[in-house]
Amino acid sequence: MTDPTLKNIDQDVVKEEARKARWSVLNEFWHYFSANKGAVIGLCIVGFMILMAVIAPVLAPHGPNVQNRDAFLTPPVWEEGGTWTYILGTDAVGRDMLSRLMHGARFSLFIGVVVVTISLIGGIIIGLVAGYFRGWVDALIMRVMDIILAFPSLLMALVLVAILGPGLVNAMIAIAVVLQPHFARLTRAAVMSEANREYVTSAKVAGAGHMRLMFKTILPNCLAPLIVQATLSFSTAILDAAALGFLGMGAQPPTPEWGTMLAEAREFVLRAWWVVTFPGLAILITVLAINLVGDGLRDALDPKLKRS
């Protein structure tokens, strides 16, 4: 019979070692990630956007949909006629631009999270099944993915929204469907390159079932490219949702979604530059920041690109 205290100590040591190993992995990751200045700046901006989205209801000077009949198209504070009440001016029905932009951050980030989650989970499952089982299952799945990819993404999303009906939720579903094949293809490729490795064979010999092999043995080793793709898809999702909103097929007015705000502002393009400029700038900055983070993640996670 073994000494119970010794067993406890052993376990503690094991736990401690595991913790250390995790830390060193994180440290190494941060080392590579922080070498990319742009990525760190991008991360700061993304952090700022998240903060703004969270505290928008507290911090925003006005309600996002509160109209002021005395302040239609008020210019920003530094322009002639601007006031400190409306720092970034007001839109055509007297709503505060700054407050709407801050609330818009919630929608954009929400869209990104939901779309990426749906397409990531869907793509991983489909890609795992295709890459693991191969044969006709693989052929069938990949042809379906080819078909989705044969249509230009925005067109496919537009048609899907036409079927489902305009609105934010349907737009998100449509974009997720369109983005999903990228994850499926990536997962499939990664699984195929991992499936014949020795550790997989040994797990198979040890009696692991299909589910365990797919999700516990192979999947964790395929995550790096998926994380990078998820970041890039996050920005694509925001852009596409804004484009659908702009075309009148996404979030519906008076939702302060940035693309929808741009659509409402279109007719004032030559009269009030601020109602057009700020929502687009918000989209650009957010998407740019996320893409910067994505580039940094790719540099840090892809061993082939490291130090190249």
Binding site: G38, F151, A243, V276, G280
Partner: protein, 335 residues
């Protein structure tokens, strides 16, 4: 090589069938009765309803309907537009040159600026030029192009008054469409000022549509060049005393261009998706705007036909790029 080509062609058949199933299914899964949707708000009498049901073949089994649909496609029957009562294929062919002209200008714009910018960035890696170019490229890649278009309109049409806001040519000019390409037709018409007007109308849409491909091409050229510049044969070329221009231009560029050409080919989908937004902003009478309008008008036969035609174009271009890639890449050619 022949085997390579055949393999590619075999893969296209299931994709084509899939595209037709999607387009065929699209109208079937739409909420509501297709006949009532066609009839509009006035409604339709029961006898006429039955008659239409038979006329459109909705009373036959679904697989038979699909079969008839595909046979129709091969005979050039892509349906009839509800809005204009004209065959969808005719509509598409009338509008397609406008999109093709715009997309061609956009991709030329992207290539002419993107490839040199990428090469110089790679050669002068880490310089201020490289950092500026790659920063700009990332911004271009992240650009919501519908907003970019509006900004350019504010600046160049609103403040500076240099370019027109919308359309393909000034309303002053009228001439028959020979080729459908405004640049060529305006020259053929011989009317003074017509060509200039067409060019001025093209500038902003070209920039807007070309922005994302430009960014992608510049980034891809840079990374392809960087990879090639580290190869042994480039070192050999330098070692034998060739000048920088010859090393970069002849030895490195030819090999770096292979992945770049693939990237350019892949931009076709991006261009067609971008055309939807660009054409909407600039009221450009092409297929992108037509698709959006058709969706809003609930002109589903047009949407259905447009979907198949656009997917076919993307598919054919991708196949061409694949084959081209095989032709210029000796590693694949000699497999």
């Amino acid at each position: 090589m022949l085997k390579f080509l055949l393999n590619k062609l075999v893969l296209i058949v299931p994709t084509f069938i899939g595209i037709t199933i999607v387009a065929f299914g699209f109208v079937r899964v739409l909420p509501g009765d297709p006949i009532l949707a066609l009839a509009g708000e006035r409604g339709v009498e029961p006898e006429r309803y039955q008659q239409l049901l038979t006329q459109f073949g909705f009373d036959r089994p679904i697989w038979e309907q699909y079969f008839t649909y595909v046979v129709g496609l091969f005979q050039g029957d892509f349906g009839t537009s509800i809005a204009t009562k004209r065959p969808v294929l005719n509509e598409f062919m009338t509008l397609f040159p406008a999109t093709l002209e715009l997309a061609t200008c956009a991709i030329i714009f992207a290539i002419v600026i993107g490839i040199p910018a990428g090469i110089i960035s790679a050669v002068k890696r880490g310089s201020w030029f490289d950092q500026l170019t790659m920063g700009t490229a990332l911004a271009g890649y992240s650009m919501p192009i519908f907003w970019w278009g509006l900004l350019l309109i504010i600046l160049f049409s609103g403040i500076l008054g240099w370019t027109p806001v919308s359309g393909r040519i000034s309303l002053m000019y009228f001439f028959p469409q020979v080729t459908g390409f405004m640049l060529i037709d305006s020259l053929l018409s011989g009317q003074p000022g017509a060509f200039q007007s067409a060019v001025r109308h093209l500038i902003l849409p070209t920039i807007v549509l070309g922005t994302i491909p430009l960014a992608v091409i510049a980034r891809q050229t840079r990374s392809a060049m960087l990879e090639v510049l580290g190869e042994d044969y480039v070192r050999t070329a330098r070692a034998k005393g060739l000048g920088q221009l010859q090393v970069v231009g002849v030895h490195a560029l030819r090999n770096a261009l292979i992945p770049v050409i693939t990237t350019i080919g892949l931009q076709v989908g991006v261009l067609l998706a971008g055309a939807i937004l660009t054409e909407t902003i600039f009221s450009w009478p092409g297929i992108g705007k037509w698709m959006v309008d058709s969706i809003f008008r609930r002109d589903y036969p047009s949407v259905q036909g447009g979907l198949v035609l656009i997917a076919l174009i993307v598919m054919v271009v991708n196949l061409t790029v694949d084959v081209l890639y095989g032709l210029i890449n000796p590693r694949i050619r000699h497999q």
